[in-house]
């Protein structure tokens, strides 16, 4: 009865996970559908690795070890290969970030227009150090390479939206608006 050996091994592995009913890393049907749609554009599944990471991160905010394993299993791509991509690309997060990630453009045109000063101002407004997330868990500030909006410098990207021709007052307004939005959300 050697054919029973294989399922037994698998069962042992499954027991090592917390709760098989609700694996923390398991991909949702929605995530899988989106990944499948992208995967159909390529010759093989390993090509869709980055897009899969991006899609799942959109729902979960960041890529945990469990999530990485789940994507690896779903695509049948080695976790190490997926990890090499996940750690390479700047828009993929391997640690938790705030609900709003501020990408402040730090490239030449924005530097001429005072992005360093604005960066300092954001640190002070949010009471954070470089790379940190604000205590309320809402904001993470990251430095972005050129965001390609140089005639409207200084600029930042928040979510999928660009904010242009910034000054200190505009930054304060933006932070206030987002704080209020998240406060209203938590009341609902």
């Amino acid at each position: 009865m050697s054919s029973l050996l294989e399922p037994e091994v698998i069962e042992v592995m499954e027991h090592s996970s917390a709760n098989p009913e609700n694996m923390p890393g398991d991909l949702t049907a929605e995530e899988k559908a989106e990944i499948d749609r992208e995967a159909s554009h390529y010759e093989n599944k390993s090509a869709v690795g980055l897009e899969a990471l991006r899609i799942v991160q959109k729902y979960r905010g960041w890529i945990s070890d469990d999530t990485l394993q789940a994507i690896s299993a779903y695509l049948d791509v080695p976790a190490a290969q997926l990890e090499s991509v996940a750690t390479y690309f700047q828009l993929i997060f391997r640690q938790p970030v705030g609900r709003e990630v501020i990408y402040l453009c730090k490239s030449a045109s924005c530097w001429i227009k005072g992005c360093d000063r604005l960066q300092q101002h954001i640190y002070e407004c949010l009471k954070i150090e470089p790379g940190q997330t604000s205590a309320d868990g809402i904001f993470t500030l990251l430095e972005a390479p050129c965001l390609g909006d140089c005639d409207k410098a200084p600029v930042l990207m928040l979510g999928e939206e660009m904010f242009r021709n910034l000054d200190e007052a505009a930054i304060e307004n933006l932070i206030k608006k987002k704080k209020k939005y998240h406060a209203d959300q938590s009341l609902d």
């Binding site: 700047q90 972005a144 999928e160």
Partner: protein, 424 residues
């Protein structure tokens, strides 16, 4: 005759020209005409038109296409790839084309695909360009419903699918072989050349990678021909180009102008000149990885070889202006920080050399520079220069630095002598 083929559908409104408007304004005529031509003839036409790659390198586009193997022995599967990973510091032209006139890019890619025999195209777009990616995807759907993309287009037997690939932020993906690795789902590290992508590219198949603006030049070049296209330029080079200016000028922006438009005209007429009270101290003619030019170069024409002979590069054609109240050492430090951060880490001169340069520049900017630092920086520029690295990233990083060390030498000296940044 048409003089603004790249932006004729761009209005003041931030909306994309939809298929109806695009067709109403003569859209897909180049694609229709291309169908009636032999692929070889299209390649010859693009070559003779003198279109040079608008991503920065300025290589003749038709010549690039002609390296793709043809005939019975050639691999059947070929790819066309659009480099939409616009991330060169100070460059903001491809965003405009993709957001406002996505069909122009699709039409250009379709003609290129037909010319080289590719049946699949990818638009490799940086992850931050959300709006552009959405508008392109919408345009692809529109083009499919009208039969401009899909299977057996116009009953010609030619099929083409175009897909949008969203990347996730890395400057090096602009290097075409790094881009291909990323598209295959790997780390974006440049490949050794040869073989060139035209022979062995995506998944080892013949692949042509062109910049967004390059593709956007194709439809009208095919529709109106070589004579018209060459006539668009005012100097040595053919066609028109998106030029841009950023920095402390009155009216920063992007404009479609003839190739060969003098720098002075771009900065003074279109960008409105310097802010009151400021003087132009220098300029980077084509993005962050080009050598500084100075006020004495203002009357040069923006043509690839003209700017090349002056010791710099046309690059992306988007000018960063340095004024007399902005610290050149600080600007160069900012650029080197960008390149150090964006190095893929594959080869030693780039991975280790750039952070070293950043450290030296940081101490000079902080007033802790040493007298031997300038020689050290010059030596580093040599060591990360052409021939010593795997790709052009580090040599590109050396360009603004090496030219600043000559042009703004006094500023570097002053930092070291005064033990502070004189601009603060």
């Amino acid at each position: 005759m048409l003089i603004n083929p790249l932006t004729k559908n761009v209005t003041d409104q931030n909306v994309a020209a939809d298929l109806k408007r695009y067709l109403g304004n003569g859209g897909y005529e180049g694609w229709r005409k291309a169908h009636t031509m032999a692929p070889d003839k299209i390649i010859d036409l693009v070559k003779d038109g003198g279109l040079r790659g608008r991503g920065g390198a300025g290589f003749n586009t038709g010549l690039k296409w002609s390296f793709v193997p043809r005939g019975a022995d050639a691999p059947e599967q070929k790819f066309i790839v659009c480099n939409a990973d616009e991330m060169e510091p100070g460059t903001f032209k491809d965003r405009l084309l993709m957001e406002r006139d996505p069909h122009l890019l699709l039409e250009g890619m379709a003609i290129a695909a037909y010319a080289i025999g590719a049946s699949i195209g990818y638009i490799f777009i940086r992850g931050e360009y959300h709006l552009a990616a959405e508008r392109l995807e919408h345009a692809i759907e529109e083009a499919k419903t009208q039969g401009f993309l899909g299977t057996d287009i116009s009953a010609s037997g030619f099929s083409l699918e175009i897909f949008v690939h969203r990347s996730a932020g890395n400057y090096i993906c602009g290097e075409e072989t790094a881009l291909l690795n990323a598209l295959e789902g790997r780390r974006a590290i440049p490949r050794a050349k040869p073989p060139f992508p035209q022979v062995s590219g995506l998944w080892g198949k013949p692949t042509v990678v062109n910049n967004v603006e390059t593709f956007c030049n194709i439809p009208h070049l095919v529709e109106f021909g070589v004579e018209w296209y060459r006539g668009l330029g005012r100097g040595e080079d053919a066609g028109s180009k998106l030029f841009g200016v950023s920095g402390n000028v009155k009216n920063p922006g992007t404009w479609e102008l003839p190739m060969g438009t003098p720098i002075r005209e771009i900065i003074e007429q279109h960008a409105g000149g310097m802010h009151d009270g400021l003087r132009l101290k220098g300029l980077l003619p084509g993005g962050g990885s080009t050598d500084f030019l100075g006020p004495e170069h203002l009357d040069l024409r923006m043509d690839y070889d003209v700017i090349g002979r002056a010791g710099s590069r046309m690059g992306t054609g988007t000018i960063i202006v340095l004024d007399n109240q902005t610290c050149p050492v600080g600007l160069v430090l900012n650029l080197c920080q960008f390149f150090a951060r964006e190095s893929c880490g594959w080869c030693t001169p780039c991975r280790d050399g750039l952070p070293w340069i950043v450290k030296i520049l940081q101490r000079i900017e902080a007033g802790e520079g040493r007298s031997e630092d300038l020689d050290l920086l010059r030596e580093q520029c040599q060591r990360i220069g052409p021939g010593n690295t795997f790709c052009a990233l580090a040599p590109g990083a050396a360009e603004p630095l090496q030219s600043a060390l000559v042009r703004f030498e006094q500023d570097f000296f002053n930092h070291i002598k005064q033990h502070r940044c004189p601009y603060r």
